[in-house]
């Protein structure tokens, strides 16, 4: 695929759930190129999860409702492909890892292999993928455990391993580390950085703005179903509207409060430099 090809495109997309009074997303236009790592953030009810559901095709497929505009995933119109057909190339990690496990497997390794098996991947290949995915997210030592015995954090890793074993080209992650401790979070983000480096496109919903700025070269800020800013984190979080309605990373807030002149830093590295210059 050429570098300029797109992974995910929204063209004037509006969507309302069935029987909902207002639209969950309104007139969204967004184009994500192959290989990008985009962070999506915004307050509650901003439409972040709906964005993921639309990209996966689960909305309107599962939820009914009205969809206006066009969603193009890996250069195919979302209306032309079912969720199942898309599942070979697109993976969605739900907020709740408990419901992501199949509920039909008695071992963690069998659970990881569930997706590839559904796709008719050969047994040897499944075993290799399972081993690789478990090692990546750090659950190899849990291989023989029962999925139902795992803690929330372990389940979250298991759910991610189940997706990685499918070798997706586009990963949609809805708060992928919400259940993990800081060290576990850092480990998963390392995995994502590796996937990003290997050319996989990642769209990630995240509330922790510092993490978002540290990791994602591009941030989309949403409020009440609309995109209010889209660009590099430094630009996005230096906008007043974003600061007011979405919030700011700690470093941005500190620089503002300390009376430094804008643009304010959004990452630790830049904050150290900016504050350090004033100290010197």
């Amino acid at each position: 695929m050429a570098l300029s090809s797109t992974s995910l495109v929204f063209e004037n997309v509006s969507y309302a759930y069935e029987e909902a009074a207002r639209e969950a997303v309104s007139d969204i236009s967004l184009s994500i190129a192959v290989g990008e790592w985009v962070g999506v953030t915004g307050p509650t009810n901003a439409g972040k999860s709906t964005l993921c559901l639309l990209a996966m095709g689960l909305a309107p497929h599962f939820f009914g409702g009205r969809l206006k505009g066009r969603v193009v995933v890996l250069e195919k119109d979302s209306r032309e492909l079912s969720v199942i057909q898309r599942s070979a190339e697109v993976g969605l990690l739900f907020q709740n890892p408990f419901t992501q496990i199949s509920g039909a497997r008695e071992r963690v390794d069998d659970e990881v292999g569930f997706g590839p098996e559904c796709h008719g991947v050969s047994r040897l290949e499944v075993a290799a993928r399972v081993e690789e995915a478990m090692a990546l997210v750090g659950i190899s030592q849990l291989a023989a455990r029962h999925p139902m015995d795992l803690s929330g954090g372990q389940l979250q890793r298991l759910a991610l391993a189940g997706l990685l074993a499918m070798r997706p080209k586009l990963l949609l992650l809805d708060e992928p580390t919400s259940q993990l401790d800081p060290a576990g979070t850092a480990a998963i983000f390392d995995v994502l950085a590796g996937l990003h480096a290997s050319g996989i496109t990642i769209v990630m919903v995240e509330h922790r703005l510092e993490t978002l700025c540290e990791l994602c070269p591009r941030v989309v800020a949403m409020v009440a179903g609309r995109i209010i800013a889209d660009g590099p984190p430094d630009d996005v979080f230096n906008r007043e509207a974003v600061q007011l309605r979405v919030g700011s990373p700690v470093f941005t807030r500190l620089a503002r409060e300390a009376g430094l002149s804008p643009p304010w830093p959004v990452r630790l590295r830049d904050a150290t430099a900016v504050f350090g210059r004033r100290l010197a």
Partner: protein
């Protein structure tokens, strides 16, 4: 105090160690599986210690039923959907004080305060399941507060919460402190710990690794690493600039101005 799950996972604070949680706001932090939830369940008697004893607000937990402990300890669980069942937010929040048979005016006062503190005013008549996950979480927190318990346990209150919601949590915790309540916050959110919790207990592999002021909790690198923690972002920045013991934004700004 020593405790073992029926299955055998043991949580054993160091031999002879007494963990005393005073009044004020305490953060309980540690890696996944460190024993945080076990410790909080011990506080309300959902689990019983296999040795030693747990005393909360002068009551020996082993001698009282869980339901009776609920008079003293308000417990908000991680997943609100494990408890919501009433048809309105108002009924849900007043359920605890009602089964605890508080007086009518006590219920009214407690519920009104809890609804206000949790930002649920105007939503009293909404069906809890018509709310989003973040708001359902607030209903669960309000339910834990409505009985005006002396001790409040909040399990992962910041999980999935946006910035305004976290700000509200901060002020809620401060208000509880002002009212003389003890608050125990179980969390992975170190920024929140730094901002809202003056004391911290670090648990790792079932042992208490640190117990004291939050400002010093992140000083020992080996403890931090073992417990899977990371210092608050403010702390990282302060360290890079050679400022010490800044775990909250206010700490940082006052150190900076000096």
């Amino acid at each position: 105090m020593r405790f073992a799950y029926p299955g055998g996972v043991e949580v054993y604070p160091e031999p002879g160690l007494t963990l005393t949680l005073g009044s004020g706001v305490t953060a309980l932090v540690g890696e996944n599986g460190a024993g945080k939830t076990t410790l909080t369940k011990l506080l309300i008697g959902l689990l019983r210690p296999s040795a030693g004893s747990v005393t909360v607000a002068g009551l020996e937990v082993a001698k009282i039923t869980v339901a009776a402990m609920a008079r003293t300890v308000g417990y908000s669980f991680q997943n609100p959907d494990d408890q919501l069942f009433e048809r309105t937010v108002q009924a849900e929040v007043s359920f605890g004080p009602r089964v605890l048979r508080r007086s009518a005016e006590g219920i009214e006062r407690g519920v009104a305060w809890a609804l206000r503190a949790c930002g649920l005013e105007g939503k009293e008549d909404v069906h809890p399941h018509d709310l989003g996950l973040s708001e359902r979480k607030w209903v669960a927190i309000a339910s834990a507060l409505a009985g005006e318990p002396a001790v409040v346990v909040l399990d992962e209150p910041t999980l999935g919460q946006d910035y305004p919601s976290r700000e509200r949590l901060r002020s809620l915790v401060r208000e509880l402190d002002d009212r003389g309540r003890s608050v125990l916050v179980v969390t992975h959110d170190m920024d929140f710990v730094g901002e809202a919790c003056p004391t911290a207990v670090v648990l790792s592999h079932g042992r208490v690794r640190y117990s004291g002021p939050t400002s010093k909790a992140f000083a020992d690198h080996s403890v931090i690493q073992e417990a899977g923690l990371e210092p608050p972002h403010v702390d990282s920045l302060a360290r890079m600039l050679g400022l010490s013991e800044c775990v909250s934004e206010a700490d940082f700004l006052s150190a900076w101005r000096r």
